[in-house]
């Protein structure tokens, strides 16, 4: 399986204005469609966008990161980009409150993308909460490569499952879990993961969601041959690699752990290289 590697850092990233085409509530989230123009051509599933929030006189000085849910080159608006935003704190709530026609300042595409296989493989896509957002765009691409695409989505409650009708068409199967049982099966996406992996001969897992979920998946599949590409979510001050706030402990080829920037060496990472047990700690000093 070949993975696309970026030449220089964020070599396709641009800073530009975008116009809100629509902003709709979908369950607990907002589906925000942006008119962004030609930059969509550079966006790959897994990339994210960094958005300035709060307007000109905002006390919020940092951008907010959102996974690019899907892009369309030839929508009626020219290039458009879809985001699925949870109204969490003041920045995301501001975004969710933007009326149609608002202009915002974006930097995109940022970060690494999911590796796309050159051969038809069996892929399992696992999303937690709004983590499902980039997975539908990914599913579309995998389908064009003739992959078999199964999907598991999980959330605490049904309103936090994001699974648009159109999206469902790109997957061969979709299974939903909620912790309170209000939608799909009661439980978590990891419930019968190993069985699913075995029964469906899964080659690659693509995941996006809370760190706890990514860690659990990594641990479950560590005894298998399955490749686990996960999109991580660490607090980011800059999103472009200059501040060193977003680091994760990652093992390199020689077995040494280093603190890697999840904004430029992620968000998509090989789950098996992340030292999940060291997240929030400092590894022993090497050398």
């Amino acid at each position: 399986m070949a993975q696309e590697v970026m030449g220089t850092i964020n070599k396709n990233a641009v800073q530009q204005n975008a116009t809100v085409i629509s902003n709709k509530r979908v369950g607990s989230y907002h589906q925000i469609l942006l008119n962004v123009g030609d930059v969509v051509k550079q966006c790959r599933p897994g990339n994210f966008v960094a958005i300035a929030v709060g307007g000109d006189s905002s006390k919020m000085i940092l951008r907010r990161a959102f996974a690019i849910s899907r892009v369309s080159e030839n929508s009626q608006y020219g290039g458009s980009m879809e985001l699925i935003v949870a109204p969490h704190g003041s920045g995301s709530k501001w975004l969710c409150g933007l009326p149609e026609g608002s202009e915002i300042d974006i930097v995109a595409p940022l970060g690494t993308a999911f590796g796309i296989p050159t051969e038809p493989i069996n892929a399992l896509l696992i999303g937690g909460g709004y983590g499902s957002a980039p997975l539908f765009g990914l599913a579309d691409v995998l389908k064009t490569r003739n992959c078999k695409v199964d999907m598991l989505l999980g959330a605490s409650v049904g309103a936090k499952i994001y699974a648009p009708l159109e999206g469902k068409r790109s997957v061969n199967s979709l299974k939903i879990y909620t912790e309170d049982g209000s939608m799909g099966e009661k439980g978590r996406v990891t419930e019968s993961l190993l069985e699913i992996v075995a029964n469906r001969s899964i080659d690659v897992i693509y995941s996006c969601g809370p760190m706890g979920m990514l860690r659990a998946i990594t641990e479950l599949v560590s005894s298998t041959d399955v490749i686990h590409q996960c999109a991580v979510e660490e607090s980011m001050a800059c999103g472009i690699g200059i501040c060193m706030t977003c680091v994760l402990p990652v093992v390199n080829q020689d077995g040494q752990v280093s603190m890697v920037r999840s904004c430029i060496d992620g968000p998509v990472m090989d789950g098996s290289t992340v030292k999940w047990d060291l997240v929030g700690q400092v590894p022993e000093v090497h050398s």
């Binding site: 220089t8 850092i9 964020n10 070599k11 990233a13 800073q15 300035a52 006390k59 919020m60 000085i61 940092l62 951008r63 300042d105 930097v107 660490e234 607090s235 001050a237 800059c238 999103g239 472009i240 690699g241 200059i242 501040c243 060193m244 706030t245 977003c246 680091v247 994760l248 280093s258 603190m259 430029i264 997240v279 929030g280 700690q281 400092v282 590894p283 000093v285 090497h286 050398s287």
Partner: protein, 313 residues
Amino acid sequence: MNMPVDMSTTLGNAWFPTPIFTASGCASSGKELSQFFPLKDVGAIVTKSVMSKPRHGRPTPRMAETPSGMLNSIGLQGPGIDSFLANDVPWLLEQKARVVVSIAGETIEEYATLARKLRSVSGISAVEVNISCPNVENRGLVFACDPDASRRVIDGVRKTIGGELPIIAKLSPDVTNLPEIARGVVDAGADALALINTVLGMVINVDTMKPHLGGKTGGLSGPAIKPVAVRAIYQVHAALPEVPILGMGGVSSGRDAFELILAGASAVSVGTASFGNPSALVKIQEELREILSAKGFATLKQAVGYAHREENA
């Protein structure tokens, strides 16, 4: 009004075509920003403080946004001086960028060691000595908070590095008497001063009900601290008018940079603003040029410290 303005400036014997620099720790080693503007277009790239050995830094979370500011506790994660000199400096020089190397140590000896390694590198414009680091030989007391330790660090660097490379001593505002510390490091051989490093702060996470940052305390930066930076620069320029200052703290517009220059800064580093706007430096530089021109300054140097002038007095 659109008079051309001579934007060039000097810090010690180092010359820079414009006064807008990156701030240490807010531009990594420059590569990441080069996607957004050519590095040679700004005054200088001040690199992330480098130590003698590779460092992992502090545990995450390493940042918290605060009103008009942010806290960081990176803990000087970095590759160590050898890797830095082998990889980052040559690349920057290839870009034709002016390079100011920031160094940091845990002992007076470590600073001297770093200086020794720098001495042999050609093409560097200046060295910024970040003394806002805990002194492991003195109960972790930050060098910059101790007049004597500050002096000794700069003295050690000066003796090691010789007279060629200008030394910019970077001070912390978290002291009772900043001009005293400034005077000490200048006496010890600093050619210029960098003001200000971040202000010590803390955020408590109301969900966990514990300090939010992995390192508990962190450094406050961004527009919130701009009034502290202006005050610090004004105070130190008043006390030491001959000593050039590399000003910084909350600059996010040409007006902000102009304010620091009027207070006494000969050049201005832009830190946190780049996080919100990757092309902040070029925007600020253009805005500053326009303001200087509109105010009738033919050269940047005329504006440095202009707020101190006495009219009819």
